[in-house]
């Protein structure tokens, strides 16, 4: 009997996903695997198709071709809400928050949908609206508020909060759903260095302590290189590279896509700010 080492089955995978908007091919036969308890990066210039692929993975957009599997189950035809209940959470490039809810309510709602779904229907006839939340929920919500330093804003409506704060609210809301995979669309955009460091710590904790897998779209190359164990690179809808951060650094196609002849992938983060401007496809 011989022992063979096999990589764990991916918790989320997409195979040959293609998305077209009329004549424009936004995503062209892209395959990505997200193994358990790992952080995978998805990078590329504007218009590369990253957000469109996220929409396909989260169920907001139906692909023209290809399949999406979650824990081995084909979820290509499942709506976004069903995928979320399976454990697939996401944040948005442009935060999709609920303006009339407080920060605390965002987390509460996500937590209840994930753990006490029946309350959506029963609360209205059991007068729960007039009673305080239970202890387990209160503790869980407080934990997330503290982890993302949102405690001072907990009871404020999210309308009027800064972009950075809205990103933190979205991240907290996504984590409150007890996800198995979390899709993060530019989570550090709008955050200052200290806030970015804080969310990085939260991401690491989520992966190490809760076994969450992260798929990260991010323009902060330093963050991606530091966090991700594996990186996929898209350019104009096509995957042009895949590998470890070191492999991506040395990938000529990736360097060309990012900075033309100036390969700056290996340089410091401050220098990696210029990106080729192509129209972003809105899914």
């Amino acid at each position: 009997m011989t022992a063979t080492t096999r990589s764990p089955a991916p918790v989320l995978e997409c195979r040959d996903v293609t998305v077209r908007f009329g004549a424009v091919v936004a995503v062209n036969s892209v395959s990505v695997d997200v193994p358990p308890s790992t952080i995978i990066g998805l990078v590329g210039p504007n218009g590369a198709g990253k957000s469109t692929l996220f929409s396909v993975l989260s169920g907001l957009h139906r692909p023209n071709a290809g399949r999406v599997r979650f824990e081995g189950r084909d979820i290509t035809g499942l709506p976004a809400a069903r995928r979320a209940r399976l454990g697939l959470a996401r944040t948005f490039q442009r935060p999709e928050v609920f303006a009339g809810l407080t920060v605390r309510e965002h987390i509460q709602l996500a937590y209840r949908v994930a753990t006490r779904r029946r309350r959506i229907w029963t609360d209205m006839v059991t007068a729960r609206g007039f009673r305080p939340a239970d202890r387990a929920e209160t503790e869980q919500v407080a934990l997330l508020l503290d982890a993302l330093n949102l405690g001072d804003l907990a009871d404020r409506p999210v309308a009027g909060l800064s972009l950075g704060m809205l990103r933190l609210v979205e991240i907290a809301r996504a984590l409150a759903t007890n996800p198995k995979v979390l899709l993060l669309d530019e989570p550090s955009s709008g955050l200052d260095d200290q806030e970015t460091e804080q969310v990085v710590q939260v991401f690491r904790m989520a992966v190490e302590r809760q076994g969450v897998s992260l798929l990260l779209v991010e323009h902060d190359v330093a963050m991606v290189m530091g966090l991700c164990s594996r990186i996929h690179v898209l350019d104009f809808g096509t995957k042009i590279g895949e590998g470890t951060p070191a492999e991506i650094r040395s990938n000529k196609a990736v360097r060309a896509a990012y900075l033309g002849d100036e390969g700056a992938i290996g340089r410091g983060p401050a220098e990696i700010t210029v990106q080729p401007q192509a129209p972003e496809v809105v899914s």
């Binding site: 949908v113 209205m124 409506p157």
Partner: protein, 673 residues
């Protein structure tokens, strides 16, 4: 046969002119003009005033009433109202249009007189000349309608395709933002479009008046028929809309050849044709592609990028007001309790006529709570709440009077029977988006008016089916308290709903559908829940109104009347429990005050004011109650801060770029207590 075809082509031509106006307005300014019928009525009434009542000949009358007053009215409406709504949510746009549609007929009645007009002349002089074409009669009014639609289509196509103005209009349809960046003023283009389309509305009104009558209801039916073609054209495809409109007109007249004359079945089929057309196209589109879009994402990438998430201008203070009503306990919650307490004293001090009006107002307050739930909490504009209220009323009367059931049990049964109807309407429309919900619900309401409420079983020669009040609430005072008790019970239910997980989920769906879906919420499930609850409440309220009048008279629940109800509630505040109560009282007491203390000619002023109040939503989306509540809160805040209880500015709340995430005021559509 040819005679039917000629008449059908003429009717189809009028529909086609109407859909041209509606589609062009929508694609160029994003406003689906629910006031089209009222614009048509106002201008056609002006034509009648000049032509019939003051003896002007047809040509000068139509020039002044349609071709001068039409553009002027369109320009006024655009500059005063719709210019400010370019980035507003569909909800705001629809409610503003409804405000206009309520105010204009009332204004017309005040300015031109409130004489009942059973038959109105067209553009041809009387007696109308009749030609024989291929052996069949064709009258001059029909010829004018046909020539008019040809002129509109040909001239419109030439202007849009071959002129600089047309190029600018088409550019703005594709992307208003990019057109603006190219140095073209979107305001000027939209202004021109509104002037032209309002003129088309007036022209269609004058043309249709001889066959449909010169009444607001008749013009609303014209608009509802045109909406069927607009839905067939997916709101944007003008050639398809014109083609379907023509076909619908021809079918409507040709089918009469094969149906028995003066039959209720014939009438039922004819009035149902636009509904069948709309339903057939909706089903076809849904089956073909799984869903259809309501066009809320019109414009180019730049337009979508600058469009505020979830609505319009941010209003953190309005959001704070929304939140305060839903979370925790505070002194602010005393406000509604005090107001209900004051209202509870009124039956003790009012007598006779005023007590009857008070009881009626309380019953309407219950109906208005259904709008509070479906529009305020669900974020959907349902325009057939009056039909649901009427359904509750007629069922109550049938069971209570004809089957000897206790009136309250009958009312409950009426609500239970009405609720699945609301769910079915919701099931058919919710996936399609807010515009389609409004369009289809308006058509359903019109269908109920024409098919159900006109039946002799319910209509009873205009007196309705009598229904007795419960034995313990026969007199007005006791009935007022019974109605207030029902209101309070439902209000507590709504407050609990709002504060519970259900309320949070509804708010989530209202503010961000993608966000809600990726949290795991079913949009359809949440909105169906709201549909069911609001239909139930509307039916209970309708039953109480019938019990108050002691008769279930179907005309009380006309769809156009339902638009007035919505206008009244919007004036006071759409998300406020207190506002629903005050709006109900205002709806019955204000006309009573006008009738008692002011000249008869002022009788339409309350309706005009209600319409203007709803129009005010374009300027301040929160309604009167919310405005005053915020002023009082601000005053309390100032007093508190003077006492030194200043709150430190929380991190992230002040500095840095803020994202317009809310449209809270616009979406909340009112205060929340």
């Amino acid at each position: 046969m040819l005679a039917y075809i000629y008449a059908g082509v003429a009717l189809g031509s009028i529909y086609a002119i109407s859909v041209s106006g509606i589609v062009v307005t929508y694609v160029s300014s994003g406003v689906l003009n629910f006031a089209f019928g009222s614009l048509a009525y106002f201008l056609a009434r002006f034509y009648y005033y000049l032509n019939t009542e003051h003896g002007w000949s047809q040509i000068p009358a139509v020039v002044v009433a349609v071709f001068l007053a039409g553009p002027a009215l369109g320009a006024f409406l655009y500059l005063a109202l719709f210019r400010h709504l370019r980035l507003a949510s569909q909800l705001i746009k629809i409610v503003t249009c409804i405000g206009v549609s309520v105010a204009l007929p009332a204004l017309a009645l005040m300015v031109f007189g409130n004489a009942t007009i059973d038959s109105a002349p067209g553009l041809a002089s009387e007696p109308v000349r009749v030609y024989r074409v291929f052996g069949a009669p064709l009258n001059l009014n029909e010829v004018i309608a046909l020539v008019s639609v040809l002129v509109v289509v040909v001239l419109g196509t030439l202007v849009l395709q071959f002129t600089d103005v047309g190029l600018r209009v088409r550019a703005m349809v594709d992307s208003e933002a990019l057109t603006s960046l190219s140095g073209v003023s979107p305001t000027r283009i939209s202004l021109c479009v509104w002037m032209v389309t309002t003129t088309l509305a007036g022209f269609a009104g004058v043309l249709v008046a001889p066959s449909k009558g010169l009444t607001p209801d008749g013009m609303t039916q014209l608009m509802a028929a045109a909406f069927a073609a607009v839905v067939a054209a997916r709101l944007r495809n003008l050639p398809v809309a014109v083609g379907v409109a023509m076909a619908m007109g021809i079918v409507t007249d040709v089918i009469q050849k094969y149906l028995p004359a003066n039959s209720s079945l014939t009438h039922a089929i004819l009035v149902s044709i636009p509904t069948f057309v709309m339903a057939a196209f909706l089903l076809a589109y849904i089956l073909a592609s799984g869903k259809i879009h309501d066009g809320s994402a019109t414009g180019g990438a730049l337009d979508q990028a600058i469009r505020p998430t979830g609505g319009d201008s941010a209003s953190a203070s309005a959001a704070a007001a929304v939140v305060k009503s839903r979370t925790g306990w505070s002194l602010y919650m005393l406000g509604p309790v005090i107001i209900i307490g004051i209202v509870a004293l009124l039956p003790l001090v009012l007598e006779g006529y005023w007590l009857t009006l008070l009881a009626g107002g309380l019953a309407f307050g219950v109906v208005f709570l259904s709008f509070t739930v479906v529009v305020g909490e669900g974020g959907m504009i349902w325009l057939c709440q009056a039909a649901f209220a009427g359904c509750g009323a007629v069922v109550t009367a049938q069971f209570a009077t004809n089957h000897g059931m206790h009136p309250l049990l009958a009312a409950l049964l009426g609500a239970v029977i009405a609720t699945p109807i609301g769910v079915v309407v919701g099931l058919l429309t919710i996936r399609l988006g807010n515009l389609y919900v409004a369009l289809v619900s308006l058509t359903v309401g019109m269908l109920a008016d024409n098919l159900i409420f006109t039946r002799q079983t319910f209509y009873q020669d205009g007196v309705g089916v009598p229904v007795s009040r419960p034995g313990f609430a026969v007199d007005d005072r006791a009935f007022a308290y019974l109605t207030l008790a029902v209101f309070v019970i439902i209000a507590i239910f709504v407050v609990n709903l709002r504060r519970s997980t259900t309320g949070q989920a509804l708010a989530a769906v209202r503010y961000s559908e993608p966000g809600a879906r990726t949290v795991g919420l079913s949009l359809l499930g949440m909105k169906l829940l709201v549909s069911a609850i609001s239909t139930f409440i509307a039916a209970v309220g309708g039953s109480l109104v019938a019990l108050n009048y002691q008769s279930a008279l179907p005309t009380t629940y006309a769809t156009f009347g339902g638009l007035v109800w919505l206008a009244v509630l919007v004036t006071v505040g759409l998300r406020s429990i207190t506002a629903a109560l005050l709006a109900g009282l205002m709806f019955t007491l204000t006309p009573g005050i006008f009738q008692t203390y002011l000249p008869t000619s002022w009788g339409n002023v309350p309706t005009l004011l209600f319409g203007l109040g709803a129009v005010g939503l374009a300027i301040d989306p929160d309604g009167v109650v919310a405005q005053y509540a915020r002023h009082i809160q601000a005053l309390i805040g100032k007093v508190a801060s003077r006492r030194g209880s200043t709150e430190p500015d929380p991190p992230g709340g002040g500095d840095g770029p803020t994202t317009d995430t809310s449209g809270v005021a616009q979406h909340a559509l009112g205060a929340t207590r």
